[in-house]
């Protein structure tokens, strides 16, 4: 299962790799990373069919996670559409509503609860 993580914070990458160490080792999941919405869209152009799940930060310089979500839903409607989970430090009602309206499948708040995330992955 290929997962794309979009976050402007570079250190998110080793964090995910270590947290999913066992799963990666057992070839249950595979991670790719993008540091901005633009980079993510570029990546998806070629690989959208491979990516099952997109985890995106909302608050990023340049294209925001919500904009990225809008683009994903517009540009890649071919079924099955990727599952998109939004992640944000601002876990307020408005942010949640906006994300869900734009077509997010789930909404997670920082700090990320990796055990919860793993549970959610099992249901995919």
């Amino acid at each position: 299962m290929k997962i794309l993580v979009v976050d402007d914070e570079e250190d998110v990458q080793p964090l995910f790799l270590q947290r999913f160490r066992k799963e990666i080792k057992n070839h249950e999941v595979e991670f790719d990373f993008a540091q901005s919405g633009e980079e993510a869209l570029d990546y998806l152009k070629d690989k959208h069919s491979e990516v099952v799940l997109i985890l995106s930060d909302i608050n990023m310089p340049g294209m925001s996670g919500i904009e990225l979500l809008t683009h994903i839903r517009e540009d890649f409607p071919t079924p099955p559409p990727p599952v998109v989970m939004m992640i944000t430090a601002y876990g307020d009602e408005e942010n949640y509503k906006q994300a869900m309206d734009k077509g997010a499948n789930d909404f997670l708040t920082k700090p990320l609860d990796f055990n919860l995330l793993k549970e959610k992955l099992k249901t995919l």
Partner: protein, 440 residues
Amino acid sequence: MTFFTYAALFLLAIRLRRAIKLSPITAKWNAPLYGIALATVGVAFLLDDLLPNDEVEGIVIALVLLGVVEFLKREPDFKRFHVLINAHYPLIAAVILSNIVALISIKFYKKYDDYFQATQLAAFGWIFLRVATSKKQQSELKRISERKDELEILVAERTAEITKQRNELQETVKELQSTQAQLIQQEKLASLGELTAGIAHEIQNPLNFVNNFSEVSMELIEEMEEEMAKGDMEEATAIANDIKQNLEKIRHHGKRADGIVKGMLQHSRASSNVKEPTNLNTIADEYFRLAYHGLRAKDKSFNADLVTNFDPALPSINIVSQDVGRVLLNMFTNAFYAVHQKQKTVGGDFKPRVEVSTRTIKTPKGSEVEIVVKDNGSGIPDAIKDKIMQPFFTTKPAGEGTGLGLSLSYDIIVKAHKGHININSKEGEGSEFIITLPIA
């Protein structure tokens, strides 16, 4: 004929006494002048009995009058009565001359009796004439002195009024100074308020990393112990390396949060005014993010491209970092505000963009550090370009801006750091704020 001389002496004393009535010298001279007047009457009877003939009596009393006249003339108190006093000389002269002539040759005197008497009468009359003139002069002088008093009172009143006004103005200046100090403090607090959300976000991120990396490291240690128990030292060493890297990251993010908290405290604290070598790239980056997240937290629809072009070789410069940081924060907040305004009006395709760049420039006077804050926002209309540095000038709606940001920035950069602030702006296209600071 001695009667005229006595009368003249008596009247002189009486007139002077009346003239000085109600003046400051009354107390001193009232009694002596009254004495002279009474004495004149007494002496008249006394001399009439004592002296052998009228002629000698006439000369003696004329000399007495001369003595009194000379005495009065020497008194500075009677300076203004000189006209009256001097008027007695002709009478004295006429009386003495007539009597001496009579003593020398009574026959000659008797022959021209009428002339001598007429001369004395005329001299006596002269005194009255002079008295009238003197009175006129006196009243004129009195009028002038009254006018002078009036003017002096007026001047005193005006002076008091001006002094009062000056004191009031000084009070007002003091009040204004303390109000200004309060406003500066409020501006600091206001900008801190704008920052709070940004700060929370900026601290949350490193804290998440600290928590996550320490948690994952604990898991890694358990795994490492398992690997070691299995005897797979290679895998154990690989995990140990990961743990080492994680600890490094924990330290890095801990320091990041620490720096943000310190910066926040510095921002709200009164300026220490101590210039210290500072890396402008660091504070520019820090405040750039804080300003962005501050605005982001207030309005979630807002987004902008943050572009940084920091010169990695930028030398450290001596600045009061919290003050210059405040200036940068103000510039960033303004830039984000401008692009946000444009986004609201233009909407749709507009891509808000704020760029900060640093570089070193050579000038004839030496090297300078230049920081440019550039936005593609609403720009500054020409009509207000001259006003934006003025205190209390703001285009923001009431209650949103203090109007002190740029004014304080000017004080900090130009007055305190001997630098410059230049502005390039075109309405509708964007603005560029260029700050230069000397390296020294």
